[in-house]
């Protein structure tokens, strides 16, 4: 997706270029860029892209929202755009209107659970919740005796232990102790925590793919500028082959993530085919984040290891995003179980289903 051909992405890219330039942000240690960026995104209706008009959102298609997340990855955007989009989407599943302001979703990991008790109160602990610290509301998926529910929770009612992921973004532990939600409704039939994790995983995959596109871009540019042994380092075959591999990892991530996004955008249900697409995207994008990011750093040498340089904004975030909504190890085990359970002769029909 080198060039956007949709209005949502064009709008977002213009805002990112104006207000989220990686070098400008990197030079600004106080974070004074955050408020204007969020305001511009909000005014354009982007954080609530996936919320229908009648629930307070801008009602963009799933496909447009996915393309927006890919663009956000290309700029390594460090405000809770993806998180608010996911929260709005989750709430909309239960026809709950989205409030204004930053949101995030919880649980953010397939291992954590939030319980709904008979009084309609929520309890549970969720680790690694992205941007919980700054969120005004949480969209929560909870398990009660009657099944799965979706709730809107006021963030001030939760206990938050702040933390940072390896990309220096907020990744916090949220504890709910008999919290009464603002709104609570049953989830639609068939919607469960796995659905949320798959959706979150695809969002992260698109962001990783975007970050890798930018890592390839800045690595190629740097190799064409940097001179060593009296020639541009891009003229060394060893460097060329490393960059060709980075292009391959970037391409694989992009293909896996956009394929999964397309599968979800056109699916009637989260069936085995969608599961294969979404789980594969998270696994392959996480692998690409490691391999591709490693090459980007190798090409940059010491300068890429400095805080002054923008490379880490992409490379570390891509690594951090691997952990959210189920790591690649988690999804590999789950996908392996699914494949084994379907049986050897059903593997190819699954792979060749689209």
């Amino acid at each position: 997706m080198a060039e956007s051909d949709n209005i949502v992405v064009e709008t977002a890219e213009k805002i990112f270029a104006d207000l989220a330039d990686p070098q400008t942000i990197n030079n600004d240690r106080k974070g004074s860029w955050q408020a204007p960026l969020w305001q511009a995104l909000s005014e354009a209706g982007l954080p609530l892209s996936w919320v229908p008009d009648d629930l307070g959102g801008s009602g963009a298609s799933l496909a447009d929202g996915f393309a927006l997340l890919n663009a956000a990855g290309r700029f390594a955007v460090a405000v809770p755009l993806a998180e608010t989009m996911l929260a709005g989407w989750l709430l909309a599943q239960a026809r709950i209107a989205s409030p204004e302001g930053e949101m995030t979703v919880l649980p953010g990991s397939p291992k954590d659970r939030v319980a709904l008790d008979a009084d309609g109160a929520l309890s549970g602990r969720a680790r690694g919740v992205p941007f919980a610290k700054t969120a005004k509301h949480f969209a929560v998926l909870a398990h009660g005796k009657d099944g799965v529910s979706i709730a809107l929770v006021d963030a001030t009612k939760a206990r938050i232990e702040a933390g940072l992921n390896v990309g220096y973004d907020h990744s916090d532990t949220v504890t709910l102790d008999k919290v009464q939600p603002v709104t609570l409704k049953p989830a639609p039939k068939g919607f469960d925590q796995t659905t949320l994790m798959l959706m979150g995983g695809v969002a992260r995959s698109l962001q990783i793919a975007g970050a890798l596109e930018s890592m390839l871009d800045i690595s190629v540019r740097y190799s064409n500028e940097r001179v060593a042994f009296e020639k541009k380092i891009s003229k060394f075959q060893a460097v060329q082959h490393n960059l060709a591999r980075l292009a391959g990892e970037s391409a694989a991530a992009l293909a896996a993530a956009t394929s999964a996004a397309d599968a979800i955008a056109n699916a009637k249900a989260f069936d085995d085919e969608v599961y294969l697409e979404a789980a594969s995207a998270k696994i392959r994008c996480a692998e690409a984040a490691e391999k591709g990011g490693g090459i980007a750093h190798q090409v940059h040498g010491a300068i890429g290891f400095t805080m002054e340089h923008i490379l880490h904004r992409y490379s570390l975030r891509a690594l951090a995003w691997r952990d959210d909504f189920g790591s690649e190890s988690h999804w590999a085990v789950e996908l392996g179980k699914l494949v084994a359970n379907r049986g050897a002769d059903e593997l190819w029909p699954l792979v060749a289903s689209r």
């Binding site: 590999a332 085990v333 996908l335 792979v351």
Partner: protein, 386 residues
Amino acid sequence: MTAALRFDPIRLPEKCEQLRKEVRAFLAEEIAAGTFDPHKPNREDTDAPEFSRRVGAKGWLGMTWPKKYGGQERSFLERYVVTEEMRVANAPTRRFFVADRQSGPVLLKYAPEHIKMDILPRICRGEICFAIGMSEPNSGSDLFAAKTRATRTDGGYLINGTKIWTSSAHIADYMIAIFRTSPPTKENRRHGLTQFLVKMKQPGIKVNPIGQITGQYEFNEVVFTDHFIPDDHVLGEVDGAWKQATSELAYERSGPERFLETYYVLTELVRAVGPNPDTRSAEGIGRLVAQLHTMRRMSVSVAGMLEAGKEPVVEASIVKDIGTVWEQQLPHRVRDLAAFVEETASNRETLERQLDFAIKTAPKLTIQGGTTEVLRGIIARGLGLR
């Protein structure tokens, strides 16, 4: 962005899925009839002429070509489905695969009409086998160092020299080869090579089989001694083969055969671990399936671009680079996991026999049809590094 790489998520149209069912049913019949054993990729009888004719009779050879040459004018995506189903079933495609994938398209583009009318329908009927004469003893990846001479004579050319690593030359009816018609020029070292259609099994051609480390004899040395080729067998521009060589590469490099060559060991591993794998097996299988799925989606995406009339040379090179490295590593990763398969697994022997063969096959996968090094050079050029 420096690199505008595109891999749009192509969905195969409905007619492809109907075709897939037909291909599966056909292959199931062939397996039931004993034509081939899908569990034995290392069979000796790679030449299956009757099978080849039956595939032709189905209309699955040259299926994208014009009807007047025996083709079906179907889409490149439909051809993709036929190719991947044949490959996954370990069907004996050797006799027709090269002609269908690349020799036919070269003839379509460069052969004179009467030759097209003669040869293309026979390819479509599965009657004839093609080989590709590129490499020579002293020119492999460096294609333009080829020395085998084509010397002007009355009504055509006399060929002298040696081609090598020529797959299927021992069974081939024709070869499309490049020969030197002029020396290279100072300005262009690629100048002076011409593409020819060679009729095999003729005087002046000797085919010497070469044993491979798998124990098979699939490739050959082909020695030409004053072999005569008539003028109308010149394909395209005399001395200008270098202009013709690149555009077909996207077709040759991005297909499902570029990541499915050792696929059978993964299926057999899944069978061996059974429906309730331990965590280690599950994780290993899950990762391999995710990588396979991604490869295939990239490959299908390139097929979609080809269908749309684009020439995604860099994207195709990426598919072959990642795909062949993956299929090369696959037997070793499966071997890692097979170490923990129960002794009592019903297909243990099959898995071990397949691994033995796949591990011996693996080294060639990143060499044949464009080495990894050449591919990365092409990708680097696409990135603006060369």
